[in-house]
């Protein structure tokens, strides 16, 4: 067994400095369509109208993006021959209109229950990677718990299939208050390519109150960590003197 200990030590620290610093390694995030500064010319209008997920709309002076619908199909960028570039970054999470963070009692440790409500496995894969060496959310006091009784945060991915509705409701009810719900990924926010239909609800917002939304298809691990920090009240905006 000592060889494994030595191996682990030799590997050194791989973990990102986020949220203390901005992570700039290539490939941590696919970005999102960069629509700011796009002029409202005819060809851009037609590109916006051809968006298969209705995430783009053409406005008077340009194009606006509703990222909670965007499914990362890259068709706008490729149709526009890359004149629509990708905005780097990953701090996309935001509170819903009624969403509130957990109280000040949760600044040290937060427990998270993850529920798969019909996700395609890419969101779950990114959630799983949150606990891997590169991201290691334990250092931030964020823990995954197997039981809803101990959970403060309910994290849901997927469009909410009919067959998962009861299980999700039961999980939510089993959690003690105060609790927050985080919807991860475009499917959980707007249904994505799956819904609403006879088998899926088109997002979890119709079934339970969502506090924080993390858009992306799938959102990269850093976006999910950002959402968790927001929901747990650990994240302070830059104007308060840096994150955390």
């Amino acid at each position: 067994m000592t060889k494994w200990v030595v191996k682990g030590l030799k590997t050194g620290i791989k973990t990102t400095g986020y949220p203390g610093i901005h992570e700039t390694a290539e490939g941590v995030s696919p970005g999102r369509p960069g629509v700011s500064g796009i002029e409202g010319t005819e060809d851009f209008k037609s590109i916006a109208e051809s968006c298969p997920a209705d995430a783009l709309t053409s406005t008077k002076d340009g194009i606006s993006l509703e990222q909670r619908r965007c499914i990362d199909c890259f068709r706008c960028s490729r149709l526009a021959q890359n004149r629509i570039t990708r905005d780097d970054g990953y701090e996309w999470a935001d509170f819903t209109a009624a969403g509130k963070p957990l109280g000040p009692a949760f600044t040290r440790s937060v427990h998270i229950r993850i529920v798969d409500a019909g996700a395609c496995a890419a969101c779950l894969s990114e959630i799983k990677l949150m606990a891997s060496p590169y991201y290691n959310v334990h250092r931030l006091g964020l823990f995954i718990t197997p039981t809803p009784r101990m959970a403060d945060v309910l994290m849901v991915a997927g469009p909410l299939t009919e067959h998962m509705r009861l299980s999700l409701e039961k999980t939510f009810e089993a959690m003690p208050t105060p609790k927050v719900v985080i919807a991860v990924g475009t499917c959980a926010l707007s249904g994505g390519v799956f819904g609403p239909s006879f088998a899926a609800q088109g997002g979890i917002g119709k079934t339970m109150p969502v506090d924080v939304e993390i858009p992306g298809c799938p959102p990269p691990p850093l976006a999910i960590i950002h959402g968790l920090l927001l929901a747990s009240g650990k994240f302070r905006k830059q104007k308060d003197g840096g994150a955390l």
Binding site: P30, S125, P146, F194
Partner: protein
């Protein structure tokens, strides 16, 4: 790569053989260019024909495709064999009023789940099937409502359904001390939603009953009537970790219908990206196996490689899971030769790390104790259940669609071998994963060093017709049946995935082993539930 002559001879002899056995009751059409035999059968001969194909010709069973036309139901049973043995489609036509079909799953056990699925979704009754009933659609779904029928409106949320909170499973083991352990649908940390009923007397799991389709999104139904571009988005996103393989299968089906081939460069790059996805997928699976045995350092090492591969993919293709890469007619972007070289170099670096990890794992006795002789699947069972992919190859089977129908760039002089192990236990599955990962990197560098120049996509005029897209996804054979209408809209989209097939055989491995082996057996199967539930 020449096709084995004896397989071709067998294929050409199919019409004579059929005539001598069924004397004109089964009509045969042979397509010698596409190596496909069409056998039109009546329901009386269906069982015998399928048994003959499966047991005597030793063909594998791919899928049942049910299609509803204005006046009839058409069932297509698809079989395929070794390279050169071709594909056999058995066609059965039923009038709309007839819903009874003889079950073939007594002879072709691989069809068991597919018949149950068709029973639920189309309301067909497979006569002689021992266990029809709630399968895809759970108890709360009223009998007689069959969502895949044309009369069912997919856009409307289905109104009259309330799940029964008091639903209890039915126990089958009756004995003193017997109990049933329910697992799921919400369980473990990051696990996908599924429900396992483990019946036990004491320590060993005696029966494993899978209650799946919690994640049923009805992709086959919601695809109907959509344009091919919209369905491509669904094909790519129903199983996000194998997005490229499934979108490729769909694109290839549409390209075949329209009689267009992707340009050579696109074909080569498709092979490269498909192997990159397979590589990343297998690294993830290896990380899962290490984590399931509690070997944290090894799991972390594999996860470091996994994240490196995701970043690599994102850096060169824009997306960490290769979304948006495939288009009908080719690829949506080009990679320069230099970029392909960089991908290849980076992949080799990760392979070195992986080899180191493999070396260490092979000499860690506490790890091997958990895998060796655990979760055994015999070769006979693997054939009977029609298992595919790494799971089947660990039990001595070696069918691989990349060899059978060299699609994309695989036919153009790429050399690879399909690794195979005999034991059928967890350790054999792990070794197959390692060996396949290495083959993938080898393929990536072969493609990177032999790229021809040219465009990466062609324009396509949509035509009506049907075709079967066949791709060896990371988990095994994937079949996408597409039928397009007059205006290029999708009339029928049938998806058969390796996870669906292999979950059917999962109980073989899980039964008669102790409870604590269950998560490890699950990890060595490495299956995806999103892919099987669809």
């Amino acid at each position: 790569m020449g096709l084995p002559l004896n397989n071709i001879v067998k294929f050409i002899e199919i019409p004579d053989e059929v005539d001598s056995r069924w004397q004109g009751r089964v009509r045969v059409n042979l397509d010698t260019v596409g190596l496909c035999a069409y056998l039109e059968s009546d329901t009386a001969c269906l069982q015998d024909v399928c048994e003959w194909l499966f047991s005597e010709l030793e063909l594998s069973f791919a899928t049942i495709v049910v299609e509803e036309n204005a006046s009839s139901l058409q069932l297509t049973y698809i079989f395929y064999g070794e390279p050169g043995a071709g594909q056999v489609n058995v066609l059965v036509n039923l009038p709309l009023s007839q819903t009874i079909v003889p079950s073939i799953s007594h002879h072709v056990h691989a069809a068991d789940w597919q018949e149950r699925e068709a029973e639920d979704l189309f309301g067909l009754v497979f006569e002689g099937h021992p266990r029809l009933g709630d399968f895809v659609l759970h108890e709360e779904w009223p009998e007689g409502v069959n969502p895949m029928r044309k009369s069912f409106n997919a856009a409307m949320p289905y109104p009259n359904r309330e799940p029964d909170p008091d639903w209890r499973p039915m126990a089958l083991v009756e004995s003193q001390g017997a109990f049933m352990m329910p697992v799921g649908p919400v369980y473990s940390d990051y696990a996908e939603s599924a429900h396992f009923l483990l019946e036990t007397v004491g320590e060993d799991v005696i029966r494993t009953i899978l209650r799946f389709f919690y994640k049923y999104r009805g992709i086959e139904k919601i695809s109907e009537g959509k344009t091919v571009d919209d369905v491509l988005l669904i094909a790519e996103r129903f199983s996000g970790t194998c997005a490229f393989a499934h979108s490729l299968a769909f694109c290839q089906a549409v390209e075949e219908i329209c009689g267009v081939e992707a340009p050579e460069r696109a074909k080569a790059l498709r092979a490269l990206l498909a192997e990159l996805e397979r590589f990343r997928h297998h690294v993830t699976a290896i990380a899962g196996i290490c984590a399931s045995t509690g070997l944290a350092v090894a799991a972390s090492q594999a996860q470091i490689s996994e994240e490196k591969l995701l970043r690599l993919t994102c850096r060169f293709t824009g997306h960490r899971y290769l979304f948006g890469a495939n288009t009908i007619g080719g690829l949506s972007f080009d990679l320069t030769d230099e970029e392909c070289g960089k991908i290849s170099t980076a992949a080799w670096d990760i392979t070195d790390k992986l080899k180191e990890l493999k070396e260490m794992l092979m000499f860690t006795s506490s790890f091997l104790d958990r895998l060796e002789q655990v979760g055994m699947v015999s070769a006979d069972n693997a054939v009977s259940y029609g298992l595919v992919g790494p799971v089947a190859r660990a039990s001595g089977l070696s069918r691989d669609l990349r060899e059978i129908w060299p699609y994309a760039g695989y036919g153009n002089g790429l050399r690879f071998h399909v690794p195979r192990e005999q034991e059928g236990d967890g350790y054999a599955r792990l070794r197959v994963l390692f060996a396949e990962a290495e083959q993938s990197v080898n393929l990536i560098s072969q493609v990177a060093s032999s790229l021809s120049s040219g465009p990466v996509n062609v324009d396509i005029d949509l035509k009506p017709g049907y075709a079967l897209g066949r791709v060896e996804a990371p988990l095994g054979a994937a079949f996408h049946w597409v039928r397009l209408g007059e205006n290029g809209e999708v009339l029928r989209y049938r998806v058969m995935t390796p996870s669906f097939v292999n979950w059917h055989g999962f109980h073989l491995a899980a039964e008669n082993f102790a409870f604590q082996d269950f998560p490890i057996i699950m990890a060595t199967f490495g299956l995806c539930i999103a892919e099987s539930d669809r």
